[in-house]
């Protein structure tokens, strides 16, 4: 093989590999990216049941209820306008509590409730997910 040909075939191979990887990445992104919703967004846009999403807001006051099995909890996530009932089975993070920021990862059910597979809470007193900080700010400033 001539030198020029070798360079050319190497470059072609590289382009094919990278384009292939890019296509793979794009198709996986389209089906796997989890969008972030506040309860208001979710009510307005309607999220198809079963799609992986993140739901963020505050845990509504006096809304945490424990199921008899001791490891399942039900609570309401609110952004000040809308609320969504959420069910979660597992050990909640250390700073999960009422009137505190939360992000629930999971999917909406056909009935409208949300089943969380993972709960992210405010990590420490100095930290708040910017997603929540931004949205809480927005919905507060919209209030009369």
């Amino acid at each position: 093989m001539k030198a020029k040909h070798q360079r050319l075939s190497l470059a072609l191979l590289a382009v094919v590999a990278l384009v292939g990887a890019a296509l793979l990445a794009m198709s996986a992104l389209r089906s796997q990216a989890a969008y972030f919703y506040t309860p208001t967004d979710a009510m307005r846009d309607g999220v198809e049941p079963g799609r992986a999403v993140r739901l963020g807001g505050m845990v509504a006051g006096k809304s945490i209820k424990r199921a008899p099995d001791g490891v399942t909890i039900d609570f309401l996530v609110t952004d000040g306008h809308q609320t969504v009932p959420v069910r979660f089975t597992g050990i909640v993070p250390d700073l999960f509590k009422e009137n505190s920021g939360v992000v629930a990862e999971g999917a909406f059910q056909a009935g409208g409730g949300f089943v969380a597979t993972n709960i992210l809470a405010k990590h420490d007193e100095r930290y708040m997910p910017p997603q929540i900080a931004g949205d809480m700010h927005k919905s507060k400033s919209l209030e009369p």
């Binding site: 093989m1 793979l24 490891v71 050990i91 909640v92 990590h123």
Partner: protein, 641 residues
């Protein structure tokens, strides 16, 4: 006083970096060679000065000098000394000072030890290293001064995030930073070689130990970080595809590719332009990683401060260095001469495939990490990209890469035939088939990725040892052992990942005292839940008696800790390591009716993941020592001749 001295040392070092760059640039022009000899000593002095500044900050943290703002915000007199010490870099300013210190010390080490490279290329390299330094000195001095005073001084510091109060903090960030910044040396070598139009085997041999060194530290840092997250977070997972984890994985992928292409360049004088390009990409990934972690653009335990100015500053540095290097590459790539030729079926060919696959995986991780940021910047929509994406997109490519890794080391340089190669691979292929049969029979219903992972790991594990077959083991060079051990480490780690993913057993219950729960081969009885206290925390501690078959029972004690400086709760998992896996127990909250949440995992062979990581790093170390010794011997022989 110490703080002012530290700040002064930092300013002086910054001034020396400017001088180093100016002298290198002027000295490289024809007729001005007189300034060249002063560049080396300046690089060494700069290393000493930043070292002093960093030592000053460590002293301030150990002495809890609360009149320094950074110490007041992150230190606490009740903290154990190890966390006062490691807390020096458990915050934004301190970690950036560590970054710059390592950068300057690496530059000083190049100035001291590098003797084989042509003088002009070396000076250009030191100039590039100084140019990187200047940007980060500016960042420290203008946007994140670690020595700023606080007046009046508070009576007590605010303490360190308890998740960071762990021996891991003393080890994980420094190793990762050594890796990140070690790649800056590879970058500077590449820039230096481009400037003096000197890209060739000698340049590759000078660069290789630095790439290897950086890669070893990155491997160790990632392995340590993974194990730290595994035991500290109490979630039972060892890799979360968190953007911050990706920030350390991306430089590792690029460095792995560079490590292999630099070998082609050093041994066969091929892949010249590509290797230079990879060196630029690898350090770019370090910078992207630093940007992601330090800009506060991400939400995680790693983002200590959210200050948009800092993010913009690092982004500007990123654009200047990467843009500048790529521009230089574009201008000079035409002068890089054609390297030597090789057949498609050859060691070089296999290494090219290795490089392409690693680049593709790197691209996938990069896209998945930056996509949410891009979408939010453009449309304002918020989304996250998690494990489903990375597993689906990067998993298959990684498996192909590992499978090719089995064949690569058995191929000859320049030209090989497929038939003899298949003969050399016969035994590993047979083992792969046997493993496939065994897994399908023993674990029916296993998912496809873990199945392939186990099977490929078995085949590759055998194939990785094949280069030693029929060789005189005592005369085999140390770097060959290094390669064999590193490749074996990949197989071991892959086996651990697949086994963890396929065979983990989990039990989640609310348990009364006295109840027994089964997980995998273990039965755990909750005996008691008691309060305990540590130096700066209180905790509830569950006492569980564990039995497995008729072996002697033992006790595990998971804790849920409450720190008071700052007030935070963490869970301390109780992890029992046995020969065939780990038992992982977490205690959660009380349900108020006398029951306690328990989360129990049995993870067969999970330890192989990190054992593999350590093997990979050990292989890298053997290669490094072997290469340096070989180089020195050749050098001496040349000097005698």
């Amino acid at each position: 006083m110490i703080a002012e001295a530290g700040l002064a040392a930092l300013w002086l070092a910054a001034a020396l970096a400017v001088l180093q760059l100016v002298l290198a640039v002027t000295g490289l022009r024809a007729g001005h060679e007189a300034t060249l000899p002063s560049v080396r000593p300046i690089a060494m002095a700069q290393a000493v000065l930043t070292g002093l500044a960093f030592a000053a900050l460590i002293y301030l943290f150990l002495a809890v000098d609360l009149s320094v703002a950074l110490v007041a915000a992150n230190d606490h007199s009740a903290k154990p000394w190890l966390y006062k010490f490691a807390g020096t870099w458990g915050n934004h300013e301190g970690s950036m000072l560590m970054w710059v210190t390592i950068l300057a010390v690496a530059g000083g080490a190049v100035a001291i030890f590098e003797r084989r490279l042509p003088e002009r290329t070396l000076i250009a390299t030191l100039g590039a290293q100084a140019a990187i330094g200047i940007g980060f000195y500016a960042f420290l001095l203008f946007a994140s001064n670690p020595f700023a005073r606080l007046d009046p001084a508070p009576v007590e510091g605010q303490g360190l995030n308890p998740l960071l109060q762990d021996p891991g903090l003393a080890f994980h960030p420094p190793t990762l930073y050594l890796g990140y910044v070690g790649l800056s040396v590879a970058f500077s070598f590449a820039v230096g070689a481009l400037v003096t139009r000197d890209v060739g085997a000698a340049f590759a041999r000078a660069m290789r130990p630095w790439v290897l060194g950086a890669w070893i530290f990155l491997t160790l840092g990632i392995t340590a970080g993974s194990y730290w997250a595994y035991y500290e977070l109490g979630w039972g997972g060892w890799w979360f595809w968190d953007p911050v984890e990706n920030a350390s994985l991306m430089p590792w992928l690029a460095a792995t590719a560079l490590l292999h292409s630099v070998t082609v360049l050093a041994t066969r004088d091929g892949l010249r332009a590509w290797t230079v390009m990879l060196a630029v990409v690898a350090f770019s990934m370090s910078m992207v990683g630093t940007f992601l972690v330090r800009s506060g653009i991400l939400t995680s335990v790693h983002s200590f401060a959210v200050d948009p100015r800092r993010g913009a500053f690092i982004l500007a540095l990123l654009a200047i260095y990467i843009g500048g290097a790529l521009l230089l590459f574009g201008l000079r790539v035409g002068t890089v001469k054609e390297g030597s030729q090789f057949n498609a079926v050859s060691r070089e060919g296999a290494l090219v495939v290795n490089n392409l696959l690693l680049s593709a995986i790197l691209g996938i991780v990069l896209v998945g990490t930056l996509y949410p940021l891009g979408v939010e910047a453009v449309t304002g929509e918020k989304l996250s990209v998690g494990p489903p994406y990375f597993d689906a997109a990067a998993g298959p490519l990684a498996l192909i890469l590992v499978a090719i890794m089995a064949a690569g080391p058995l191929m000859r340089w320049r030209r090989d035939e497929l038939k003899p190669l298949a003969m050399r691979l016969a035994l590993p292929i047979l083992l792969t088939a046997l493993a496939l049969l065994a897994v399908i029979l023993l674990a029916p219903g296993i998912r496809i990725l873990p199945l392939l992972g186990l099977v490929v790991a078995a085949g590759v594990g055998a194939a990785s040892l094949a280069p030693l077959w029929k060789r005189n083991l005592r005369r085999t060079p140390m770097f060959t052992y290094g390669m064999v051990i590193a490749h074996l480490g990949i197989a071991v780690s892959l086996a651990g990942m697949a086994s963890e993913s396929a065979f983990t057993k989990e039990t989640l219950v609310a348990s009364r005292i006295g109840e027994t729960h089964q997980v995998g081969p273990y039965a755990l009885r909750l005996d008691a839940v008691e309060p305990v206290a540590g130096p700066n925390w209180t905790a509830i501690e569950a006492k569980l008696t564990v039995t497995r078959g008729d072996r002697a029972p033992f006790v595990v004690r998971p804790e849920a800790r409450m720190f008071w400086t700052p007030p935070t709760e963490t869970s301390e998992a109780a992890i029992t390591t046995v020969i065939d896996g780990q038992l992982y127990a977490v205690v959660g909250k009380s349900d108020g009716e006398g029951r306690w949440q328990l989360r129990l995992w049995w993870k067969p062979f999970v330890t192989l993941i990190w054992a593999g990581g350590v093997l990979i790093a050990l292989g890298g170390l053997l290669s490094l020592v072997g290469r340096v010794r070989r180089e020195r011997r050749t050098h001496e022989r040349l000097a005698w001749a």
